[in-house]
């Protein structure tokens, strides 16, 4: 890495999961739009061919008009190759295939448990965590060995447990987890300003917030725009749209913008707790008792959708066709900012501009009432080679109640996965709010079936 007058050359980025379609292309886009950085991105993927495709697609980008950041993309065959010499490591992988994801999401439906996403908490999130943690153990060990000083950005879900595992295995790691769900809520508040007060063109970073909680179950207890406290306005906004929902939609290029809801869950949680829930409704619903997920009709009433894994399979097929077209040049890559902050964060860590944003980090006191070392999501100051969390304070007790049980469940899952302990994993399973209505017998049947479906990822379990 070379630094000169607000520019950095010869930067090395290792991209683990470098064969991905969505996230890899997004990073390519954002890097192409940034003029102060250039260097090499090493693409590592267990699907080496997919990484090679992205190498071709990535290297073709420099020729596109308007590209400011020129990068060399290179598929590599091993983690060691990817990590050696890396300044940054980006991790964005799919743990397992859609076959396992189908089990995560749909198996519980047989017992009346519905999950719109199934990748964070609930029975699906648990199973996903159990098969992801061993992969992250390997990644953490490789980083410790080959690039201990690199900054590591995680995008994979379950965000909390992926980030947590990295620190558990290699406590000195410089890792953090990023998620755009909170940005979506900032965007909603910006739209609210137009809807309620006619203030147009507010960008989401003008909405200043205090963030606290855990990923996908994050909360905003303070939101301001210039001299204005937005909480009272949000109360009116909730009153206006509580019954109908607010469906105007998100304007920015969110990767899964088609996943939007009518915000009714968010509005309902505000009515209950007087604090803004800051994630998509599909995620929020999964953290609560089955208030919003009792059955498909209930889901409909709350105006969000259960994403079937079939859709993901079809979507992936389409992306793969698109990848072929991009590779052979029959379709040209359209560069557009993703709205993600990864590149901005890299710049800050390189010394090119401090800023404050929300990230997932082990708790060192930023949320004093949550257990130390659990991964929490709060604001943090990004500066050259450093991230310092901001003291976020405490949640209202009634919300703390909802959040803390997931924190302890996630800690239980980590322990179960690290010690390959099936009984401990089952404890986490029955402690989840979504499984509370299962009889013990049914709980055992479902747990065993789901665990069996992912057995090939559970090496060493008895």
């Amino acid at each position: 890495m070379k630094f000169y007058e607000d520019r950095v050359w010869d930067l090395n980025i290792a991209y683990i999961g470098g064969g991905s379609k969505g996230w890899a292309w997004g990073l390519m886009s954002d890097l192409a739009l940034e003029e102060s950085l250039s260097g090499t991105v090493k693409l590592y993927d267990i699907d080496y061919e997919a990484a090679c495709n992205n190498e071709i697609i990535g290297n073709r980008m420099s020729d596109i008009e308007g590209v400011k950041g020129k990068w060399n993309y290179k598929a590599v065959r091993t983690l060691e190759d990817a990590l050696t010499g890396a300044d940054f490591v980006v991790i964005s992988i799919l743990p397992g295939t859609f076959k396992e994801m189908a089990s995560d999401v749909h198996e519980p439906e047989k017992f009346g448990i519905y999950q719109p996403v199934g990748d964070t908490v609930g029975p699906g999130g648990l199973m996903r965590a159990l098969r992801t943690i061993p992969i992250y153990v390997e990644i953490a060990q490789a980083i410790k060995r080959f690039s201990p000083n690199a900054w590591v950005i995680n995008y994979t879900n379950p965000m909390t447990l992926c980030t947590r595992t990295l620190y558990q295995v290699f406590p000195e790691i410089k890792a953090f987890g990023c998620c755009h769900e909170v940005f979506g809520t900032q965007q909603l508040l910006a739209e609210m300003l137009e809807d309620m007060l006619g203030i147009k063109d507010v960008s989401r970073d003008e909405i200043k917030i205090n963030v606290l909680g855990i990923n996908h179950f994050t909360w905003i207890d303070k939101a301001t725009y210039k001299g204005m406290n937005l909480i009272p306005l949000y109360k009116d906004f909730v009153d206006k749209y509580y019954e109908t929902g607010y469906e105007y939609g998100i304007k920015e290029n969110w990767m899964n913008s088609y996943f939007t809801s009518a915000q009714r869950v968010k509005f309902d949680l505000f009515r209950r707790y007087e604090i803004i829930a800051a994630a998509g409704d599909r995620h929020l619903a999964e953290f609560c008792p089955p208030w919003y997920l009792k059955d498909p009709e209930t889901v409909k009433e709350w105006k969000f959708t259960l994403t079937p894994v079939n859709w993901r399979i079809q979507n992936k097929a389409e992306l793969e066709e698109k990848a072929q077209r991009l590779k052979n040049g029959s379709e040209s890559f359209v560069i557009s900012a993703t709205g993600e902050e990864g590149v901005k964060q890299m710049k800050a860590l390189l010394g090119l501009g401090d800023f404050v944003t929300n990230v997932n980090l082990p708790n060192q006191g930023q949320m004093p009432e949550l257990p130390m070392n659990a991964v929490v999501e709060t604001n943090a100051c990004f500066t050259r080679d450093g991230i310092k969390p901001v003291l976020a304070g405490t949640l209202p007790k009634a919300v703390q109640n909802l959040v803390v049980r997931h924190v302890y469940n996630q800690e239980t899952i980590l322990e179960a996965a690290m010690s390959k302990n099936k009984e401990m994993a089952f404890r986490a399973f029955v402690n989840d709010p979504l499984t509370g209505n299962l009889s013990l017998k049914d709980a055992k049947i479902l747990f065993d079936a789901m665990l069996n479906n992912i057995r090939e990822y559970l090496k060493g379990w008895e």
Copy 2:
């Protein structure tokens, strides 16, 4: 108070709830059996006549053969009279009447929520707390004013919130809460020694335990008898009786010995979490998701009973008749040790013998992972004019998960009761594991009905 050669004269005890039948007579018994103490017990009760009856009953005791401790009992008309000059304050009251208790226990049954006791957590425990806390606010203020240096022993449920309120109002108070549920589990372990190993006549204080958790949801992570670790033996014991339950029964004079269960809930919790739950099954079941309380049939399978309030009404009538007989001398008082530790604790606090036992106290670090100041139940060293909690350590994470949500709920209830905030009380209501299956609409209907039933105790609520 006068002290001379291991004896104390002129001790003053204020008994709040001094018209009670069960607890007051128990204390009289225990005092009568203790030779090193004597003095005056002032009986205060909102039912002054009942206190006067107990004055007569109590004063008659000195004449009974074998009585070692001679005490003067005196009914008083005001808290001020009772407290002024008191060395100890005993609080054992019934907040409200059985009419409210019937609402606590039976109203939720209309919505499929069953509670065997209904005085600690669940919808019933919440309502009982809301009407008890204002009474405890008054008591705490009176103690602050009239007997700030007295030691205060609370026996009233909800234990945690009663004790918590005393400290909230008067932080310098020297109060603690006592409950015999843990003793029952020690007794069970003593019986286990006979059942499994043929070791007879082990007394419960020979079973050494480490206690941690909150009242009625207390846990034992370590139990020994002489040189023996009892946990592996308990595992075998659970295996032996898991299906049938263990029904031999408790031998000691437990006040509610007829409330025994077959310990199946306790055994099931051990199977799940590998730690001994240390309270009666009827209490334990109320803290969990409706695993054991789904419906009356489920309760039957787990071999415990739902105590109907009718029974309590009838029982009370019988006790009142007995009180009359005791008062007019047509029945003689039978003195027998209750198994409670109140008198032993008083002796220790007077300097007549240190010992270690479990009590309810604000958390000052004895359970480092629970919030500071929340009332927890752990061992503590009793010594002259001092109680120092023992560092109990941490619960297994999966159990911590179950416990901590009640801690935060209880803190929410305290805040709601202190600020007379109906919305906050509702948050605690819907956050309870037993109400998780209610639709929001039903939750609101039930909450409003229950709150309405106790409205006369909620002065100042809008």
Copy 3:
């Protein structure tokens, strides 16, 4: 207060100590240079006449060419007048007179104790604290009563104990303490870049630092400029100037720029502890055992000066003459930026631009190894109506050792002053590193003499 398009009108500032020459004129200057704010500054001072002078001087400023911010200055006779309606409260007072300050600084010299400033720690700082705390108790009570929602900026020394007292008396106060000593160290690092690498015109805010410690004994464990880690460079810089000192001087308009030293104490502390001490040498020396203050010769060797109170008296006389000239117009006010951040902080708190800077606040975990609630100095995020400390981390243990003893001493002083407890004050006196060599007898003599000299400020002490 009115807010419109990045401007705020009708702002109300209460200035306690509003008759001051240095600080009040500085604030006037900074307000005049800021175009987005306007309103009224109420000047309150126990020397009402001085406040009236400043009213005249302040109101005349609007006529000066180039003034962007127009303010109405108004002397008031009571704290109530000053505080009622205030959006901000600025406190900058001299507790007592130079007579007491002469005792603080010079009385200990009779026993071989030399203090270059004598306003923070050491015997002088203790005495100053004892007479200042009662004044701050009054101020805090007045703020609680008349302007509980105002933001309060303290500039008075002893900074830590003044800020600490405000929170002790009124825990909900929104107060923070500001000091420019850290800025001076940033400035030194900026100059170092020129001296060592020829990089010119670096402004101090381009030097990004992590700040931790207590006021006047603050430390920087991380300093960067763009992509550069400045610690290794500082090591070389220290090597270059360790013996000679670095005397180039500070360029900005620091109020007491003539108080500069040759940074030798700072360099020596770096050699000892490998961390940058971030305050003037005169302050730093007072926190250590008498390494740098053994006698006047030692002070000379370390190249800083003992400021005699005589100089302050003469300086004050000159300022008073200047005040007269400014008032009667024979001298015109020269507006120039002070380098202080007060106005920038006000803007941020009004919603006109978030930023991160170092301030003095009660410890809520930003320094997890220091006692909670003690006032510490770290970075914090300023945003609309909110200041959130950044988690600063921990000091190296050997430095923690030096710092923590002052923290406990300050807490002892607070307790002594609040309870008017002479014996407790004496304990703090003998626990100070500068008094360690006194025999107990001498310690008592000196303490009594100093206390006697400030007796009129110690109402209610026996």
Copy 4:
């Protein structure tokens, strides 16, 4: 180990330092007086011959009349032999020889620094720690390997750092440190009862105390005898003997009873801080600034002595002659209780009787204001296979100030010794209160000389 009816057979004790004269003979005595235990003591010593002597002496004891506990003593050649199969490990070694100890104690005298003991803090304690920690690293590693489940009792000084090192190297170790200094203070309080009130024959365990602090700088904030609070009486006792000192002497068989003082330092610390210092005056003086150690005259005034290492050398010679006589039978071993609690603690850990006493353990919250994991001395409950600290609370802030600086210094020393970092060791050296008056140059000269004198114990230091 076999357990039957309150007796334990075949117990295995590993004695590291088993060639010692004082401590080994004391343990032999105490074991001989205890009827419920028997088994084997393996004696390991770097002086194998000394261990062999003790084997002979120990095995001869069973023949002495009145011996209740029969033990088999066996000298072994390796740590592995000693530890394998051990139920308990006792560590009582002399790190280095009297040559090094002479340097620790007398080298600083050249610079006016006087230390009565020189084994805990001060320059001597530091040097002793630096050469002891590597030995304890080895011992901890051996215990981890050969007897990870054994209970480990440490008697070696510096107590705090020896115990701390064991936990640092092997965090799961079941170790604690024992010291009789607090017992001496209990004994003093017992004598006070006779002196002041004529109450005779009070034994020290009847004096109930709350203990808090660090070894040799331990404090008692609460002391009672039966119904009596002893603090006011101690105040009178101090008044009576403050000037003259109290020289009646200790009655029990304290190993170093000839080391008594007139308690004047203890009395002076009570006058200063209103809390009882609970260690011998010779130790206490070393933790303070040179209030009591300014020069030999000052020491004399405070009525304690500086123990010259010459005396220790001569004493050792006498003990060696005695060892020869005991071995060859020309002198018979006189069994008498030492007053130490080691055997009582072993019994409790075996399940033969719970009790509460003071021990040195890592801080897990028993002293919430001291750093976690630092070794502190407080009461703890001993029970079968478990020690649970009692929450001791907090020291008065002015005493906390004195204590905490030593805690951080000891943590610094640990870090320096573990990382073989000379500069960090020097920081601890200059941070000690006894070296505060040295010029930096002198500090460096003394430090280098002392370090040089122990260089053969500092393998791997540059």
